[in-house]
């Protein structure tokens, strides 16, 4: 083990102990470790933004680009300038122009992602579970294929019904004004169950990762201490 590896290992060990000390309550060591982490990470992000965004997308085209490329950089330069000077309270309104640009871009990416990345493929997966080629007697489907398709359909519809908060446009009485239609009430109860099961599954996944991280840290600490005091 080189001196540098040992030094970094000791730093890692000290920081690990400082962060894990939070388990006995909030204390000065945890806060120091958290602020070291925040400071170094903020500096790291700044360096990454400068090297991987500002340099290749702004500085490099201005220095090495053709005159045409340089001309194209006027628009983003103006937007950046507006964004920066809008940080002064008196000029705050100028920031709405670059933000409107970003809002349009983000909205379009969100719409595209939602439609082409989720709505179409997920709806298709629910529908394809009922593909006649899979469910016909000639395909000899197992009970699981049929049950999977049924559970998937009920689960999806019931979960979506849980998030349906619409009311009748012309309610007949006061009850209809405040409550959802009966069919949605029943479906939303089933939906609650499915959402609970899904969240439980997600919880287990995160919990397993967290336990693995805890085990990893304990092994790391044990290894470092044995190397430091037990001679390796």
């Amino acid at each position: 083990m080189t001196l540098s590896t040992l030094a970094w290992g000791v730093i890692g060990l000290v920081l690990t102990v400082m962060v894990l000390s939070y388990l006995i309550g909030d204390n000065v060591f945890f806060r120091i470790a958290a602020h070291v982490f925040v400071g170094l990470t903020a500096g790291y992000f700044a360096v990454i933004i400068l090297y991987q965004i500002v340099w290749p997308y702004l500085i490099s085209p201005l220095i090495n680009g053709t005159w045409g490329e340089r001309l194209w950089m006027i628009a983003p330069l103006v937007l950046i300038l507006l964004l920066v000077i809008s940080q002064f309270p008196k000029l705050i309104k100028l920031g709405t122009i670059p933000l409107a640009y970003l809002a349009g871009l983000t909205a379009a990416l969100v719409i595209g992602g939602a439609v082409f990345g989720t709505l179409i493929p997920q709806s298709r997966a629910v529908v394809e579970a009922f593909d006649p080629n899979r469910l016909s007697p000639s395909a000899n489907p197992s009970w699981r294929v049929i049950a999977d398709a049924g559970v998937m359909l009920i689960g999806t519809v019931a979960t979506l019904s849980y998030f349906h908060f619409g009311r009748k446009s012309q309610p007949a009485d006061d009850l209809e004004k405040t409550e959802r239609p009966k069919v949605f009430e029943v479906l939303s109860k089933v939906g609650q169950l499915f959402i609970g099961v899904t969240l439980g599954g997600i919880f287990t996944g995160i919990f397993s990762s967290a336990v693995l991280a805890l085990i990893d840290r304990l092994i790391f600490m044990g290894g470092m201490i044995s190397q430091l005091f037990g001679g390796g």
Binding site: G12, V38, T41, V126, V151, L193, I195, G200, A213
Partner: protein, 205 residues
């Protein structure tokens, strides 16, 4: 007038990017330009955000407020990693070691703390929420996933058990698909509202 211009800017940028989904080859140069400018703006916005973080810590330090010592530590860490990264580039071995041996242990340890917090929170769930369909489903899902992930059951040579386990593994997917579709519908509606300036997250102009 300014409101109209801002709405037009949002709409033109948004519709051009959306059109790119259908006419990728034709609009490729324009899309590259729009997205590159967006990335650049987001990068600068990130730097401005970091500037605010530094300003907040500097203010806490110079006003001698409570926690000024911690701010000093955060600022020293920031200046050190920024200066080192700028002078030697982020690809320098020391910079890489710094990130690997400070960020990774702290992040892994925070995740380890999460294990204890999650366990405690799950134990309190029934006490605080009571026996609702959601909490029953949650407990069922958590216990089911734990049992299945432990690989407690041997599927080899038992096709019925294998089918059963595959079916049980698929149950959480049903709710997950509903949640994903709900999120996508929500995203779609919010996106359309922003695009047509029914909502103006950028302010009133």
């Amino acid at each position: 007038m300014k409101k109209m211009l801002l709405a037009a800017l949002t709409l033109i940028v948004g519709l051009t990017v959306l059109a790119g989904y259908f006419f990728r080859a034709e609009l490729s140069p324009v899309l590259t330009l729009i997205i590159d400018w967006g990335i650049l703006l987001l990068g600068v916005a990130g730097l401005i955000g970091l500037g605010y973080l530094v300003r907040m810590h500097l203010a806490r330090l110079f006003r001698r407020e409570k926690g000024g010592f911690y701010s000093l530590i955060a600022l020293l860490g920031f200046v050190f990693s920024l200066a080192f990264g700028l002078v030697y580039s982020p690809h320098h071995p020391f910079f890489r070691d710094l990130i690997l041996n400070v960020q990774v242990p702290v992040e892994a340890s925070l995740l380890a703390i999460l294990a204890v917090s999650l366990l405690y929170a799950s134990l309190r769930l029934i006490r605080t929420r009571g026996w609702t369909l959601l909490s029953v489903g949650f407990l069922f899902g958590a216990v089911l996933s734990l049992i299945l992930n432990l690989a407690f059951f041997r599927e080899e040579g038992n096709p019925l058990l294998a089918e059963m386990i595959a079916f049980l593994r698929g149950i959480p997917m049903a709710g997950g698909r509903g949640i994903l579709l709900g999120m996508a519908l929500g995203g779609l509606i919010v996106g359309l509202r922003v695009l047509f300036s029914i909502n103006r997250p950028y302010g009133e102009g």
